[in-house]
Amino acid sequence: MALHTQQTPHSKRPTIAEGERKDNWLMAPLTFFLVFGFFVVWATFRTFNNDHFFIEKYNYLSPFYSPLITLPESWKIMVLGRSLHISPSLLILPFPLTFRLSCYYYRKALYRSFLADPLACAVKEPKALDTMRYRKYTGERLFPLIAVNFHRYAFFAAAIFMIFLWKDAFEACTVPATGGGIKFGFGLGTLLFFVNVSLLTAYTFSCHSWRHFVGGKVDCYSCSALSKTRYGLWQKISFLNEKHGTWAMMSLISVLVTDIYVFLVSSGVLTDLRFFN
């Protein structure tokens, strides 16, 4: 790398403690830490729980277990000294999880809340962490963080899952009819499924990598009919992309709420509120 000009090191300046931020800057990273932390703990529990994820009566399938996969009985793993059936969720969750972990919005939030790098804007980074983790700051240039450059692949994997989740939402509108066949049915769970899949679609298709793929990489939009079309699509995705962070958080919460609802109804703690049939 070509070394470019350096300026006077910070150590040559007087410290101005009174100039530090005095507002409640810790609130945002702390809130994300708690919400995302809870999501990780709950998702881990549900993955290894491997139960209460499908309600046949209403065709409700938890998003953590979508698409519905049946694994052979002989597939087992050892967890804490116990032999357990492999949860289908173990094969499903890595895809949406990779999409979220490499997402440009989550990167910001995770760097702030989990790595304190930085905790908040214009806030001094904790000295203890500074000493512990740095030889020299390298950003996203070296392993493992360089892997975030594969976010585009995670997007395409996550986009495939949208097909299954929409299918699940429409299937949740059906209930078994007496005497065989299916009939229309709609409950609170169905509503949650549609809200969840809509938010997930908005989050997935407002992705920065998708925006780049569709039209961001084009320099001249007026040069051909195809590039004009790409410009139109790029504009629409840009509109969605402005709220990418909002979609990211709302869809995280909706996945959580939908799964908890399926878990509670399936385990008999709650009864599904039915609007039709």
């Binding site: 000009t5 100039g19 910001k108 760097y111 804007c121 214009a122 007026s222």
Partner: protein, 267 residues
């Protein structure tokens, strides 16, 4: 609120302290007005850089209660406690009081070659469509206040001025790389000289921009994606190799005279 307490950093690179002043207020008053009051009535030697007082020149950048801000755009009413602390930009070398030496930004900027027109467009007025200029027009709003450079933790906390150009220069690079008339292949320079990979997308630059440029979403992330296309995407690499994706026909970066990209250090 009839009076406001202004705590201002007074000092040099060797020593300094916070001095406290009381100034009267008036409707529509901004922090820069308070600094001017102090200069005119209480402390004529207080050093501060300013010019337009209309948030268009980018001169009066400082840290107001720890937030990088333009003093001329910081209304006194935003601080109902009646106590405001004003300190110089932390990232840049201090000259005196509120004045810092931001020349590093200009030296880095001079390393970025200007637009190199396509051979058939050189020397003629550009005939361009609105849809082609819309995206880069946002970047032209930059007033070079360097608040984004100040808040960027890579420069501010990690001192990586040796490796990362900073958000302001990323905006400049994006405006050139996305320009339909530019014929210079800048990818390698964006990756290696500019150090776009150092940015970890914390969006602080976007938060402080007084011109509301979407620095991260519209400049840095698209540049990162362009670099990923070129260096980190194995499928695109393969498609380029077998000729399905065309290789760039832009002029190599090395073809620009060296003196255009050489900067002499201040030290």
């Amino acid at each position: 609120m009839e009076k406001v307490t202004i705590k201002v950093f007074r000092g040099t690179p060797e020593e300094g302290e916070i001095s406290t002043y009381e100034t009267p207020t008036f409707p529509g008053m901004v922090v820069l007005d308070a600094i001017h009051y102090i200069q005119q009535n209480l402390e004529p030697s207080l050093a501060c850089r300013w010019n337009c007082k209309a948030a268009k020149c980018g001169s009066c950048s400082a840290e107001v209660n720890g937030h990088p801000k333009l003093m001329c755009k910081s209304s006194i009413e935003e601080y109902p406690s009646g106590e405001i602390t004003v300190t110089p930009l932390k990232t840049f070398p201090l000259v005196k009081d509120l004045v810092t030496d931001v020349s590093w930004n200009y030296r880095v900027s001079s390393r970025i070659p200007p637009l190199v027109p396509k051979p058939d467009a050189a020397g003629k007025p550009f005939n361009m469509q609105q849809i082609d200029v819309e995206r880069v027009q946002e970047f032209r709003k930059c007033i070079e206040c360097f608040l984004c450079q100040d808040v960027c933790h890579i420069l501010r906390e990690h001192d990586r001025t040796d490796a990362f150009y900073g958000p302001r220069q990323m905006v400049k690079l994006a405006s050139l790389d996305m320009h339909p008339m530019d014929n210079l292949d800048r990818k390698e320079s964006i990756k290696n000289d500019g150090g776009v990979g150092y940015c970890n997308i914390t969006k602080c630059c976007t938060e402080v921009c007084p011109e509301h440029i979407h620095i991260t979403d519209n400049a840095i992330i698209p540049l990162k994606e362009r670099i990923a296309d070129e260096y980190y995407d194995p499928i695109q690499g393969l498609l380029r190799k077998i000729g399905i994706i065309k290789r760039t026909t832009k002029q190599p970066f090395d073809s620009v005279p060296n003196e255009q990209t050489t900067v002499h250090s201040a030290r």
